[in-house]
């Protein structure tokens, strides 16, 4: 039987970057094949060429043994190549059915399409109401739309781009069941992820890219997560150095019965949230997206002020009524989840973005005038210390890749040495090497006496990073306990157990 997909000598040159350099590998029928690599290693470019979004400069793509050219995604789908994107290409204002109809190349009457959707959902155990508007769906449900859309085409190859970053452990298990069933039926799967334990659990073969070049093809079940990570980044991976037996200082950030009002958006408000973070402590908050994390972050950062001055206090001083600027002055810095447009202004230079959050703490504004020299110097330090790939402080935030922008934003806040730091998804979309660096910087900041709150959906991250852990579900926060006392199963149950959607 010929290989389902075979790439040989694929090369793609962008201005200034060689995105793919002579990449060759093959995917067998029914194989779950992992594509591993850091940000900028060329994974996305490679799959875009397979799916016809881009064309290779050199090299050959063979499909079921035949050399082919994939001029556009439509042609790819005709071959039987389906793709589930990391950033869902969904239309929020349209219904599930309309969204799926848009992804179909053949004209199918909507009643017939609905019947076929229901059939696919029943076969693979994917629950979804075709007439719901996408804007009202959770991230997990949105992903199901993408999967159903791809499956309706009876694909022979399914490309999954970072599919689990937004799912609960239970949802991940459900997804894996679907993928294994597909593979057993002969569909090949190209699985892009940076979560190494998932690749070990799911994939038969892993192809590792670094700097656009193929560095290794291996059997992930024979490798350790560590050995794969080292191949990915090309050097030894540093563990988080956490001083053992640390003792925590006095309570720094105290949150006492904090509640927020419903904003009418799709995030749930928080109810009666209480917790204490001591100096030197990292509190992790786990939970599936959309359970009140955004409301909690907004309430802590000061974007949404509380009526109760003492609902939030730093070192005993009630800051509930203060806005973000005042809270920053009192030592509380925050990093929201949305990087571009919320944590940073895309069209501003990095320097100007630094002024936006660090102006008071680092004296970048004197008598209403911006000290641009100080902003540039500080931004240069962030770029150097956090290995941000940017031309310099003058490059715009929007020109950075997602992972690099995240590194910049984390660096910008951490180097301000806040006494309290609240971050959401600190390493979302950041590769293993950079994630380790960000984790280490957070641990070092805590070791220097700051109190840190990390809101994340990545359990591995929280287990590695946090000292204490609490779980948020439907706007309510469980009691915080030392992270060692939790098992993964227990966290998973707390994250989804009460939440009917995830338990289904």
């Amino acid at each position: 039987m010929p290989n389902r997909l075979e790439l040989s000598g694929i090369t793609k040159q962008f201005p200034g970057v060689l995105a793919n350099d002579n990449v060759s590998f093959a995917v067998k029928p029914g194989e779950i094949h992992a594509l591993l690599g850091e940000n900028g290693a060329g994974k996305s470019t490679l799959v875009k060429m397979i799916y016809g979004i881009m064309q290779p400069d050199a090299g050959e793509i063979r499909w079921n043994g035949e050399p082919v050219v994939v001029p556009n995604p439509k042609a790819a789908r005709k071959f039987g190549i389906g793709m589930v994107f990391q950033h869902f290409s969904l239309f929020e204002a349209l219904t599930v059915l309309e969204n799926i109809a848009l992804g179909m190349d053949a004209k199918v009457p909507s009643r017939e399409l609905e019947a076929r959707i229901r059939e696919v959902m029943a076969t693979y155990g994917l629950a979804l109401d075709p007439h719901r508007t996408v804007a009202t769906l959770s991230v997990g449900e949105r992903q199901r739309i993408e999967i159903v859309r791809a499956l309706l085409l009876n694909p022979q190859l399914l490309i999954m781009d970072e599919p689990t970053s937004v799912l609960t452990p239970q949802e991940v298990e459900q997804l894996f069941t679907v993928l294994r069933k597909l593979a057993a039926e002969g569909c090949s799967i190209l699985y892009i992820s940076h979560k190494l334990h998932e690749i070990k659990a799911l994939c038969d073969v892993a192809t590792i890219l670094r700097g656009g070049k193929l560095v290794d093809t291996c059997d992930p079940k024979q490798e350790t997560s560590r050995s794969m990570a080292e191949k990915m980044i090309g050097s030894g991976l540093k563990d988080i150095v956490k001083p053992e037996g640390r003792s925590f200082g006095t309570p720094k950030l105290v949150v006492n019965r904090l509640s927020t009002l419903s904003t009418g958006h799709f995030d749930i408000p928080v109810r009666n949230v209480s917790f204490t973070v001591r100096a030197g402590e990292i509190l992790g908050i786990a939970g599936v997206a959309g359970n009140g994390q955004n409301a909690l972050l907004d309430a802590l950062s000061g974007e949404v002020r509380s009526d109760d001055r003492d609902a939030i206090s730093i070192d005993g001083l009630g800051i509930g009524g203060m806005d973000t600027t005042e809270r920053r002055r009192h030592g509380l810095c925050a990093v929201p989840e949305e990087r571009n447009g919320h944590a940073a202004v895309g069209d501003f230079s990095l320097s100007d973005n630094s002024v936006l959050t660090a102006r008071d703490r680092l004296g970048m504004v004197v008598m209403g005038l911006i000290n641009s020299g100080a902003a540039r110097t500080y931004t240069g330090r962030v770029i150097a210390d956090f290995a941000v790939k940017a031309l310099g402080p003058a490059s715009t935030a929007g020109s950075l890749s997602g992972g690099n922008l995240q590194k910049y934003i984390m660096g910008r806040e951490i180097l301000q040495k806040p006494s309290v730091l609240v971050v959401s998804q600190p390493t979302w979309g950041v590769d293993a090497g950079a994630a380790a660096a960000i984790h280490q910087a957070l641990v070092d900041l805590a070791a220097a006496g700051s109190a840190i709150v990390v809101i994340s959906q990545d359990l591995d991250e929280l287990r590695a990073l946090a000292d204490t852990l609490a779980v948020i579900n439907m706007g309510e926060l469980s009691a915080a306990r030392p992270v060692k006392d939790f098992s993964v199963e227990e966290i998973g149950l707390l994250m989804g157990g009460v939440h009917g959607e995830a338990a289904a």
Binding site: F85, L94, L102, K107
Partner: protein, 309 residues
């Protein structure tokens, strides 16, 4: 109020509403594809002068309407090329198109002012419209029936056809539509051309339906009302129909007020003229107060499509 007067008012309102309705339907489709074309007024003027000149030289009203549509498309393609192919700012380009259309129509219309043409007559034979009530139903020209049919056509197209779904998708999330493999630019060109044709026909209504002559700026801001009406109707064709007739009613009231028509004249005509805009602002405020997922505005409205970012 006598039946005769009431019928006269109804017929005036329908006449005043028709060009706004036609232009707004075109703009609705354009905006649903994610493009904001503020050049409606300019394209209407280009359509108006084209329709006038063709009627004046050939006497054929239907040829005039077709030519006006063509001229509207030509004007809209200037806008399309600048904003879609060259990614120019849509607001500024639309304003420029209006200024261009105003100037161009004035230039082309030199020597035509105060020369009369005949109005486009009723579509149905006069025997059908003898009784006053029948006149309300059958006494109009083809342009009026065209505008009403187009309401249904646009609604059906957007809601029930695959092409309409693709057009809405392009306006909702251009990058996703692109990644699925639809031609965002192609769809938007088609929408802009349709908007141009409709604006051209709306312009033709002025010399053919309302005042049988050419006067500079004879559309008198109706293109702007059409743009406002699209928002007023929250991008829904049937609401657009209701809105157009409401605005038409208000504009007719303005005329009566100016003519000193009894109780209406106690309100200054300037206030009547401002009414459609005030109503639009009120509606916009109401929409933003209860802003939810169903606000219905195309998410990509006015944003240039830049697939590389």
């Amino acid at each position: 109020m006598s039946t005769e007067l009431l019928i006269a008012i109804i017929i005036t309102v329908v006449g005043a509403s028709t060009p706004i309705l036609i232009a707004a339907l075109g703009e609705l489709v354009v905006e649903k594809s994610g493009v904001l074309n503020l050049g409606v007024e300019g394209m209407m003027l280009v359509g108006a002068i084209t329709a006038f000149v063709v009627t004046f030289t050939t006497g054929n009203h239907y040829l005039a309407i077709v030519c006006a549509a063509g001229a509207g498309v030509a004007a809209s393609m200037i806008f399309g090329f600048l904003t879609l192919s060259l990614s120019a700012n849509q607001t500024a380009t639309g304003l420029a198109l209006t200024i261009f259309g105003t100037g161009f129509s004035a230039l082309a219309g030199q020597g035509y002012s105060a020369r009369p043409v005949t109005l486009l007559g009723p579509l149905f034979p006069a025997e059908l419209a003898t009784h006053p009530v029948w006149r309300v139903l059958f006494g109009y020209s083809a342009l009026v029936y065209f505008s009403l049919i187009m309401v249904v056509v646009v609604w059906f197209f957007l809601k029930r056809t695959r092409a309409g779904l693709i057009l809405r998708a392009v306006g909702e999330n251009d990058l996703s539509a692109h990644s699925i493999g639809y031609s965002v630019i192609g769809v938007r060109y088609a929408a802009v051309a349709f908007g141009g044709a409709m604006a051209g026909i709306a312009g033709a209504c002025f010399p053919l339906l309302l005042t049988p002559q050419w006067a500079e700026r004879m559309t008198a801001g109706r293109g702007w009302i059409a743009v406002a009406l699209v928002v007023f109707a929250s991008w829904k064709p049937f609401r657009l129909l209701a809105g157009a007739y409401l605005f038409g009613l208000v504009m007719t009231m303005e005329l009566y007020a100016k003519a000193g028509g009894g109780p209406l004249s106690s309100i200054p005509s300037e206030l009547w003229a401002a009414m459609p805009y005030l109503a639009t602002i009120v509606v916009l405020v109401l929409i933003s107060i209860r802003r939810d997922a169903s606000s219905n505005a195309p998410a990509c409205l006015g944003r240039p499509f830049l697939p590389s970012n």
